[in-house]
Amino acid sequence: MALVLTDDQKMLQDAARDFIADASPVDEFRKLREAGKTRDPELWRQMAELGWSAVNIAEKYEGLQFGLTGLGLIVIEAGRHLVASPLSSTAAIGVSALNLGTSEDARQRLLPEIAAGQTLVAFAVDELNHHDPQYTSTRAKPDGSGGYLLDGRKVFVSGGGHADHYVVLARENGEPDGDFVLALVDAGAKGVDKTKVQLIDSRDYANLDFSEVAVSKDAVLADGSEAGAIVETLIDIAAIVTACELYGCALQSFEDTVRYLTERKQFGRAIGSFQALQHRAAHAFCQLQLLYSVILDALDAAETIRPGLALAASHAKALANDTTDLVTNEAIQMHGGIGVTDELNIGLYLKRARVLRNLFGNTSYHWRRFARLSGY
């Protein structure tokens, strides 16, 4: 277990912290939102220049081959500043789909483009209002030559509005117990229909309809008996990366709150001198420390794809959901009236956190999964 960062990782973390604080503080997200936009291409260009789009890509595909832990650290920093970028959807999850997949052709074709920041990917997994891959019914009908025809509907695809390619989870012939099929689909392909959806966090989501969309053999990232394991690992990685962003949101809103506690005066004292608030803040601090350990462990599990990854992922996502609920609610309550205004960032963290809570598994989903994986 790599619970302590390497010097390289620390350098990356510092660089990310500095760049984001400078180039994309929360104000930048506010400007995007005001403009009705969900993306800042110039920012992504700069992030790609720093190599962040290439962190999780092997050198032979023109990546930095730095691993998921490093990327997770960047996502945490991005979470702290509510950066709207394809970091999670493309650099972490999209790249992982290609890395794990069986199509060398897809890797050679897409990874260098992604590394260069020129191509965006989104993972289309959910079909219902709650995440649970078990309920996948999108049909992948074999076309007889190793490819498939896709039919079905995916909802609330994160990053789906701007993606150039979708990684689509389907089932062979759409049968409830059929093998998974993981297919790479061009956003402009015939039969793909996209509708943007606006959630409370003002990010990029889309619903996707697939109608007899042709997927060639080279675009099949996984199918047959090995698809189950690949898909599970991919979703575990997605859950862990999402937990990283939740942790970033929680950490920053906690730090903002502690600062407010020392500044705001009521009844002639800093409100942070009131013992009831002190104890609640101290408790939240403990929870954040515990969460950080779990997240570092999960990132290492994801980077090394070691046995126990599934358990580590469910642990990280469930605890991140729970802790962020606690911290964002306390942040608002401790800020008092000002905490519910749009002027303060606290509300923005809360809105982002509530959406992330639902992405790749809510708390009760991961509790059940953790219990099942533990054998009880």
């Binding site: 009831a276 008092g336 809105k351």
Partner: protein, 397 residues
Amino acid sequence: MSELDAFREDTRQWLEANCPESMRTVGRREDMVAPGRNQKFPSDDARIWFERMRDKGWTCPEFPSEYGGGGLDAAKAKVLRQEMQRLKCRAPLSDLGISMLGPALLEFGSEAQKAEHIPRIVRGEIRWCQGYSEPGAGSDLASVQCRAEDKGDHYLVNGTKIWTSFATESDWIFCLVRTDPDAPKRDGISFLLIDMETPGISIAPIQLISGDSEFCQVFFEDVKVPKKNMVYEANKGWTVAKGLLKHERKMISELSQDFIGGTLTLRQAADEYLGYDKNGKLKEPGLRAAITRHEMNMRAIELTAYRAHLEGLAGEPDSRIPLIMKYVSTTEFQVKDELMTELLGYRGLGWDDAYFSEEELKSSRSLLFNKSLTIAGGTNEVQLNIIAKRALDLPES
């Protein structure tokens, strides 16, 4: 038949004859009838219902009839409430003038003030808003900074008030102002009535995380207020304010869930968005347990409110119960919102989009808006302080 029974009989008949059918259903937020110089009605029935009740003085049943009120004693007023509940009649008019300022004026106001303001409240001619909080004085209400200088024939008001609901649509505001900057905190405060059309007043709406902006910040710049508009005595405004605060907390804890949240119940949401396993149990056992806990708490809160009501009627009110109601009910409303969001999944996270149903959008707005319930009108922390002190007699911290 006793006089009270006769009154009940008459009232029932009158309500049945006069309350329009459409006014006999639970209203939503937007169905409320507000008063004011530019009063508008959500429907014709709402207008008719208002006018009929107004003409009997039953917009304010317990206000004295000499000021246009219903003039009912407590027993009769209770009968009227019971009969209105029986028919599910909506309130004909809602305003801070009725629920907060009116009672305070009747207790502390001068004869001239009562004669000027009470009839207009009863008739719905004036919409009132409240100027209590300031940017630097939230929980610590007594640290009022907004100044009112005595200029002989008028007060000169300078400063700002925040969290004033619907200030842009209101005609008058009642304010706490500092008239003696040298006195200890609570001793230099006065209670002032100010016409919102007075020169020097400006209003900035506050945008909330839910997107709503019913709260405003009100700025006073050299606003001249006639001396006759001071209620009670100079520097004794805290006495008036304390009485009002109690009314406000009661109001917030009594806000019904239908009003605050969307119109979906958790049960309906569970039916529609989650579903059941083959034994008829909610699909997610964790959510099932959480909903059970919430439903138990809500039932306990309702039984407690009802117990307090009955204890009051029996002439044995337990003064500790009202202290706890705001804390327990607002806390539980927020639990409901979070559970609803979990049940609805992505559909409970919509912003402003044709893709989501009206109920779904209400649910996500409610999640966000209701975070203020445990803050407005006395934060949870202030409420717990009060319980510790008044119900448990614990020493000052």
